[in-house]
Amino acid sequence: MSETDHPPDDGATEDRSSDEFEPIQVFPEAEAMDLRPGADNCYKCSTCDTNCPVAEVDDEFPGPKFQGPEQWRLKRQDDHDVDESVMKCSNCMRCDSACPSEVPLSQMHNTARGEYIEERMSRFSREYLRNRLLANYRRLAPLAATFPRTANFVMGLSVTQWLGEKTLGITSERELPDFATETFREWWTERGGPAVESEAKQIAYFHGCYANYNTPEVAKALVRVYEHFGYEIMIPEQDCSGTPMFANGMLEDARRAAETNVAELAAALEDGADIVASCSSCSMSIRQEYPELFDFEGTAEVAANTWDALEYLRVHEDLEAELADASLEGDEYDEFAYHAPCHARNQGLDGQTVDVLEAIDGVEAEDVGDSCSGISGTYGWKAENYETSMKIGAAMFEHMEGAEAEQGLTECPTCSMQMGHGTGYEITHTLEILEAALVGDAGAA
């Protein structure tokens, strides 16, 4: 040991006053978080593993118990060799609701994935670039939406898809989603904002990227249904919810997006609105992942006051009575094969849609079971995961085909893609049925 190991000043008393210490600075970044104490809750029952749709079809993935509490417990502060299999986790988060003992599994996966990207994946690798691209769909979508017809045309070209597979590792098996000719936000502005004003009943709508750029009809359905119940709707500024970024370990991107969202949504709360989302992954992200990974001012309040769109009505309105008077005639709304997205399951919402639709005369929704659709956001878009993704989805496809219905129903945009891809069915969002039942098919703008 050298002399330099000795401090310059033996007294060292001058340090003592400078100890105003903010704990937040101890864990500056999510990927540097120490989650070892989370392993305290694990009693090794493996219930998480039995719920993992990836481990069931691919034994390269060692399951959430290893990936979460075991890997964390084996870790020393300066170890940075997160096992590469963490990238095989699809972030469906089923392990969270499985664990009978409250181990923060998905938080552990998210953090480990962030660390893996940080420490072990080259910034210049094809995989990194591709993941970054998929994670940041929100950044690309506006471009495509500006020239939707060109984008749809170009993306549909098989050469483009083939190039996607070769150069970026995005599977050519899937058709890229169409972009709407008019985004939801454009429609909203065009429409002149809210049609209902209310002091007492206000909501701030977090529409997310997909309902804005690809399926504005879902967002419009939400507007019409909520206005039917007399709510004044605000559409705050918003960034991507972060779901695809968490799944790809892009925690810095997610942090930036979350910071914007929390600030905007907290402001809406201040104004007296509650927050509702129509996409189950967006609501999951704001409710669970934000408070687990970030601590911006207002994160907890925003999380605690964010609701799934259907859940909110169910709790705050007498939805059942309202629907009891409604009926839907015709084949179009006859029967649905309903898939509860994993991220809805995680919020305790898996039984909700079937429960609610039961009240509408003429509509049947049959739950096709608790299996995962397999696409898990961007996961199934990666060429190397395509096969796994379809294996996971196989049970759902079979159950859909076994059901009476010839069309599908869900609340998650990527589950919807997978359902359509696997069965060729048309897939509807639950809010669209509510819109038809309460407002009528061609709900006035």
Binding site: D5, R16, V26, F66, K75, D81, V82
Partner: protein
């Protein structure tokens, strides 16, 4: 008179194994006998601190100097047993500035590298430290695995021709007039590797010189030859946390006191300790208040400990000794230095020395001094090489760390396995056979378990101390049965079953002191698995009567 061995070492702790290795390396013929498993006495019941000497820097500077010297040697010769964690002496608002300054000066006086950190700097190193912290002194404390270190010494002694007998209890120290010439031992299951069910036997082992390295039990051994060694055994509790809340040794910077240290140990953190004199090192109370006290007191330093999961507690008995007539009242004030009692000088009885006192970190230096003494007695002229020769597993560690081979294992499992096996890793882990993880808590694979069984026979506790299997959060709930399975078919079913029962009961013993919250839930999971699902508690194979199978449902619908 021809003897069975030149030197007979009694006690398979760090001192005994260190002496056996030292003498065997000098070319002497050595036999070591141990009542239970290696480390079963005090060595396996310590907090795993590799002292920098900082703890003695104020009160006992001679010990402090010796510690830092040995600390540096062990990093070299036992790299795979040592984790260079660093240590902090943390000052809280109640702790005196004067003592802090004395500690720092003491470290400097003893050549212990020491650096003052602000509270903020200390918390950047260890985020779970209390925000109240005033400042800290950083020293090169480390963590050491006493099991691995002790076993490595024994293995190397064997490699140099020594005979190591575990489960061989000394039942008589043989004395002929004024000369001690050997012992009678009782082998639990015949000599050699442990084999459950093998019949016990007794053996007389004669030697030119006997070294009584039984620590806290030295008085009992000496008494067998009507000699008196007044050991003052002092117990201390250690509580094992499920995870590492800290990766640095955390000491409270204040004069002697209970519950003032947290040592990161492998996957866990160990809280210590207390200091209370006991009359019998095999029989003393293990009380709730001791556990509560270490948790509550150390939570002042690391608040998260208050609610964190502990997986077990254990007590160790220090082999404290002071020369007759010193009569120190408080055991904390008894010196930690060691004493070599040459019974020829002391009592006029030749052929025997007893070693008492001392501390784990300086085991090698103690062994060297005692070996010099024994060589002098036997007229052997040989020099000590233990400060230079690496222990088995610690050769060429740099090569291992650079090596990317993960032996087909997941990264963290490969990393932990390599840390445990050191330079033996490829010998043990390279296999064409299926190599599933058997202990998922600690990341121990079948290959490593089989290697340990090769070394130690049917004793699964011996497998445990070599591999850490069953030392994680389920405490053997899920893996104990898998470990026992590995004994079969080399050993028969009844042997595998009694080895399992023994390990399972041993794992329960320490868990009793952690039975609340998560560990109580864990205990219930384990109980349900072993009793409900496997019916191990009422196994018809273990009962005398035969079961009338015909009276039960045979599946036929009648």
């Amino acid at each position: 008179m021809a003897t069975d061995t030149e030197v007979l070492v009694l006690g398979g702790g760090s001192t005994g194994c260190g002496i056996a290795r030292d003498l065997a390396m000098r070319g002497l013929e050595v036999t070591l006998v141990e009542r239970g498993n290696l480390t079963d006495g005090t060595t396996g019941r310590m907090h795993g601190l590799l002292h920098s000497g900082g703890r003695y820097a104020v009160s006992d500077q001679a010990s402090a100097t010796e510690c830092i010297e040995e600390n540096e040697i062990l990093r070299d010769i036992a790299g795979h047993c040592v984790e260079e964690t660093g240590g902090l002496f943390v000052q809280l608002p109640d702790d005196s500035d004067d003592y802090f300054r004395e500690k720092l000066e003491g470290c400097r006086d003893c050549n212990i590298p020491a650096r003052v950190l602000s509270g903020r700097e200390a918390r950047e190193i260890e985020p779970y430290l209390t925000p109240d912290i005033e400042r800290a002194i950083e020293v090169p404390d480390g963590a050491v695995d006493p099991f691995r270190l002790c076993v490595a010494n024994a293995v190397d002694a064997e490699a140099h021709g020594a005979r190591i007998e575990t489960h061989a209890e000394v039942i008589d120290l043989l004395r002929d007039g004024a000369d001690v010439y050997g012992v009678d031992v009782r082998h639990d299951s015949g000599p050699g590797k442990r084999r459950h069910a093998a019949p016990g036997s007794t053996e007389e082992i004669t030697a030119e010189y006997v070294v009584n390295a039984t620590g806290a039990w030295a008085g009992q051994i000496a008494a067998m030859a009507d000699l008196e060694v007044a050991v003052r055994p002092s117990k201390g509790v250690m509580t094992i946390m499920n995870v590492r809340q800290v990766d640095t040794v955390i000491n409270r910077c204040r004069p002697k006191g209970d519950a003032d240290i947290v040592v990161p140990h492998e996957t866990t953190a160990i809280l210590g300790t207390t200091d209370e004199e006991v009359s019998d090192p095999d029989d003393y109370p293990e009380a709730q208040w001791e556990v509560d006290q270490v948790i509550d007191t150390l939570a002042d330093l690391v608040p998260i400990l208050e609610e964190a999961r502990t997986i077990r507690s254990f007590w160790g008995v220090r082999p404290l000794y002071e020369p007759p007539g010193t009569a120190t009242q408080d055991p904390t004030d008894i010196t930690r230095d060691f004493f070599l009692l040459d019974h020829a000088e002391r009592d006029g009885v030749s052929g025997l020395s007893s070693i008492v006192g001392g501390k784990f970190t300086t085991y090698r230096a103690m062994a060297e001094e005692i070996s010099d003494h024994v060589c002098g007695k036997l007229g052997v002229d040989a020099t000590c090489a233990t400060a230079e020769e690496p222990l088995p597993g610690s050769e060429n560690l740099a090569v291992l760390e650079d090596g990317m081979d993960e032996f087909g294992l997941r990264s963290p499992v490969a990393r932990r396995s390599k840390q445990r096996l050191g330079s033996r890793a490829s010998d043990v882990l390279e296999t064409d056979d299926a190599n599933p993880v058997l202990c998922a808590c600690e990341g121990v694979t079948r290959a490593e378990v089989r290697d340990a069984i090769q070394q130690s026979g049917t004793d699964l506790n011996a497998v445990r101390i070599r591999t850490r299997a069953s030392m994680g959060n389920c405490q053997g709930g899920f893996c104990s049965q898998l470990l026992a399975t590995e004994l079969h078919p080399e050993y028969d079913e009844a042997t595998a079953r009694s080895a399992l029962d023994e390990l399972f009961q041993e794992r329960w013993k320490g868990q009793r002191h952690a039975l609340w919250g998560e560990q109580l839930s864990q205990a219930m999971v384990t109980y349900a698995l072993h009793a409900t699902t496997m019916n191990r508690d009422r196994d018809p194979a273990a009962s005398d009567g035969s079961l009338e199978y015909g009276a039960f449902d045979d599946g036929e619908v009648r």
